[in-house]
Symmetry: C2
Subunit: 283 residues, 2 copies
Amino acid sequence: MLAAAACGENVLTVGEDVRSGAVAVPVGRRLRAADVGGLAALGITRVGVVARPRIAILSTGDEVVPASAVPGPAQVRDVNAGTIAAVVSQAGGVPVPRGIAPDDAAALEGALREALADADAVVLSAGSSVSVRDLTADVVARLGAPGVLVHGLAIKPGKPTVLAVCDGTPVVGLPGNPASALVVAWRIVAPLVRLLGGERIDDEGFDARETSAVLDVPVQSRPGREDFVACALARDGEGVLHATPVFGSSNLIFTLVRADALIAVPLDRSGLTAGERVRVILP
Amino acid sequence: MLAAAACGENVLTVGEDVRSGAVAVPVGRRLRAADVGGLAALGITRVGVVARPRIAILSTGDEVVPASAVPGPAQVRDVNAGTIAAVVSQAGGVPVPRGIAPDDAAALEGALREALADADAVVLSAGSSVSVRDLTADVVARLGAPGVLVHGLAIKPGKPTVLAVCDGTPVVGLPGNPASALVVAWRIVAPLVRLLGGERIDDEGFDARETSAVLDVPVQSRPGREDFVACALARDGEGVLHATPVFGSSNLIFTLVRADALIAVPLDRSGLTAGERVRVILP
């Protein structure tokens, strides 16, 4: 593929090592402006790159109507289709909208099989009642081996997440609650899209998507799960970054609209104290 | 414009305040996943957004040949067209390639007038000899009022930069040296593209494109100019970020290929000492 096309978008991942003299652009690196320049200096205007992964996005629930519709009694607008598409795009994937499936095993299975046939991964957001969650897991289990790997994560929000692989294609079942679904999309779907896009994810290296900040007020938590708390960020006069939790229900998408980032509360902590340096995720 | 389209790309800027109940997405904010979700929850699937600015990119110099060509004696490949296009894309603009113009006043003026006619800004990279720099400034001065505003910046690399406005259209003349041109593109062209794209640039707010790190070795500088030094970044066992200058000539694009970021040495410092906390620009 053309390096020029890759540099124009600046998000494609190099699919093969490019080594020439002083320049080494290793496989798995997302092409950056300097890389394009180093290659151009050597006359290398074409490099192999990894195609953007296609990510099918399916919302489920008898009560869910498109965001453009006026919800009737006991109906809610589909928020997750839009937020997941945005997360997928930002991670370098191509969102493939698959609409809304009802809470019916046969219909859901049909919709998922169609989605699987034309995508590198499927992300669905499920209703949040226990019976509906079980329905999703049951249907996903039938789609191919090995099926459901994980049913429930030790994180908040996002506990009722389903992780599966069906005949080689990853399937992620997100909670139905929009704020929970978005947090899990940031934490699970975005890295999955980058991985499918060929990006080498290096635990040792620098990651601009994380930083640390001084916490301004205490945060409560419960040991045994990782908590993600919406926060605003600001620098003080000395340039020190401060994180302040955003007031509002953690269940509401509107809380995330007002937030800059997420504070990560480690699994083994019962809370964070004011003044301590905390880990901050920049979605 | 469709919010769905905006969210798919996730880089368009809201062109008008959207306020409804608890949700306020202010004018000048680049739409984020959570914003798209908050708007969808309220049934707002269309919002006014600012079109991506079109940025014409023109290389100049009798000695410059396209990157795909084999340079003859005293010729060099065009590196800047590719790196500037990547910086423009990443900042949310549309790069408009305008090729290579010779070191001839009439030809350069013609190429610049054509570029100006079809772009929201023009970025040119000029030859680095003094006579050629003067040619560029002379030609830019003829293109419209007020013309050249700045001829030379107190930064290194990047001193021979020209900043102009010609009949309302910004024109940036970058140094011809590829490493210098890329550093100035990061520091000047990227914020200009974001501004033309409608983004409110807030000095007080949090900027994920900057951070701080502990410097591992001393860095020499000279008071009276801001220095940008290519560096690698890594976290130590305690999660503290360290910056190490990248060994290699600051004039070489290959030095930037090996770098993660730039250390900013303030105007009034004669150098930075090992162990001090320094400002780091993440391009």
